[in-house]
Symmetry: C2
């Protein structure tokens, strides 16, 4: 539905893709940096105690950490300082992460690992930059630009999920120092995992179980349940609703749910993408208004089904790590060691606050 991106290579061979608001823009700038080829040593280690794969990516310890002003690697290249993006201006750009958790191509790790198993961490990590303005947040972008961004997310999901060695594609944005963001310039990340990450696996199992028991879609049922209850609804539009989940774990957690039963970002039609662009900007405007703090620290993550799963219902989960105007939500023993979240703010109160922030 959208013209494909313009594809180029960075000096070290990494791919960079330009998604333009209007087609036909030239992308002829060349990356002239004397970059060494990225060498990574990502390793997946099977955890027989708590299950799942632990990812070891030692090279990430050296990743760019809060660079000084004028040294942002996500800004366009306009003067002496060559950034990750050779062009002097851009709309939406996607490139392979220089410090990836997963890289290269190979076989998916076996699904019944023996103890002590370690395999290479194949996969792909991408950085998505939706604006060449260093200080702009999602709420500052035009609806048209957010629409281009959504097209970029969808194209990347579609392409990566067709790779035989990719098991799941995630698209997420970390925002704010308190979330540990090392680069201030607004960006999203795409992790194309060589295995299904634990929460995605759990969600897929819940979907399958609900379908088996009731013949219905769990997300469709949850959405109906939330909209009927009413007191957890933040906003309801023609094609999308924003609701606080009944069993929220995080401060100011919401689900952004398409009304139509669509499997993933690539399946959204043009009117759905147009409305999502509005809904997405509106959500971040509400977050920023909540405590009158620009850039409330948030995580926003799309949940898409593992590759090859036919049933599925896309939604985004967004939440803050800040539980009050001046207090953070920390993950301590209960959460980090036992996996048990304790929430201070009732979901119904969250919805009330986010409605008022609209």
């Amino acid at each position: 539905m959208t013209p494909g991106p313009v594809r180029r290579r960075l000096a070290d061979g990494r791919e960079i893709l330009y998604f333009d608001d209007e087609p036909g823009r030239p992308h002829d700038a060349v990356d002239s940096r004397p970059l060494d080829r990225v060498t990574t040593d990502s390793e997946l280690r099977w955890d027989p105690m708590f299950g799942g794969w632990a990812v070891l990516a030692g090279h990430r310890q050296a990743r760019t950490y809060r660079p000084p002003a004028g040294r942002c690697p996500l800004c366009p290249t306009r003067g002496e300082y060559a950034t990750e993006i050779p062009d002097a201006s851009y709309d939406v750009v996607v490139f392979e992460n220089r410090f990836p958790s997963f890289t290269g191509a190979g076989e998916r790790p076996c699904t019944q690992p023996v103890e002590g198993l370690a395999v290479p961490g194949y996969g792909r990590c991408e950085v998505v930059v939706p604006t060449d303005v260093h200080k702009a947040g999602i709420a500052d972008l035009s609806p048209g630009r957010v629409r281009t961004l959504i097209d970029a997310w969808a194209q990347r999901t579609d392409e990566l999920s067709h790779r035989p060695d990719i098991a799941a594609v995630s698209v997420f944005e970390n925002r704010g120092d308190a979330v540990g963001v090392t680069l201030e310039h607004t960006h999203q990340q795409i992790y194309a995992f060589p295995f299904v990450p634990p929460i995605t696996a759990r969600f897929a199992a819940s979907m399958a179980d609900h379908r088996d028991r009731t013949g219905r879609c769990l997300v469709c049922d949850q959405l109906t349940h939330s909209l009927d209850a009413g007191d957890r609804t933040v906003s309801r539009r023609t094609k999308w609703s924003v609701v606080v989940p009944f069993a929220a774990r995080w401060p100011f957690e919401v689900n952004v749910v398409p009304h139509r039963h669509v499997r993933g970002l690539p399946d959204l039609d043009a009117p759905e993408r147009d409305e999502l662009a509005e809904v997405w900007r509106d959500l971040f405007r509400r977050y920023d208004a909540l405590f009158d703090q620009p850039r409330l620290p948030t995580i926003a993550a799309w949940h898409q089904m593992p590759s090859g799963t036919v049933d599925g219902h896309l939604f985004a989960q967004a939440f803050s790590v800040q539980r009050d105007a001046d207090k953070l939500k920390y993950l301590a023993g209960s959460e980090s060691a036992y996996g048990q979240w304790v929430l201070d703010v009732p979901p119904e109160r969250t919805a009330e606050l986010l409605r008022a922030a609209g």
Copy 2:
């Protein structure tokens, strides 16, 4: 094996228990504070999307948050200011948390919940204070005092795990601002859960599966595997070893494992408790030496089997949320939204650093 604690009540009816290094110490001080009875509204909400119970504890939003000097609620009561502990001095004291995630007694929640289910959050949350010296850390305590502390953990586990409405007892210590600790005075917490928390459930399933497949204990096998490999061993004593797990997720993660196949803290014999007191102090001394920073932010958590499980092998998991001398490990999108940890420091390097810090 140990004399039982001396039991008293605080002004609002909460229980307080004194565990003394030597028996016979009087505990006659009376809590004279005009405290209202604690009212809590803990609620468990079943999450049909990601599974498990979300705990809602709205009253905790008002919990004591980094009180000023001279207003520490965990210090002994010595002057005008009445703390949570009426005595003017104490060894180890345990009391019911004034801002608990779980409280009261009732039935365990049903294990096959329907959508939208909410039930009261019964259970018990306790605070354990191992010293009346405000600034003392675990490494500053005498081996005898740490031994008293271990006895307190064991007694509390034993008593609480026999309650029919308690499904699992966890004992953990959060340390450092970066972990979100709201009270600086060294303390541990005990959560007596009315359900089995997710990571405990996952571990119990791994244990059962390994036993089914091999006839052996998973923790025994993992310990042998680690000690044989050697490069992940931090320290090895007669009855305990400290090893870095092969598939560690956290910076400077270690397991503290008894060589004997014991199910939980109450099953440790006297020589095992004596040696653990040394091992525990030594571990925190190493953490503090790692970057020459007293009180490196850490979480230390005991993994015990759910109540009623016959098979089991106790161990503690300890780790830091700091990945370098000046950098924290944040849980962002990959960890918080997809449950996927990415580690920067190889387990073998962690062991090397912790051995050198000994």
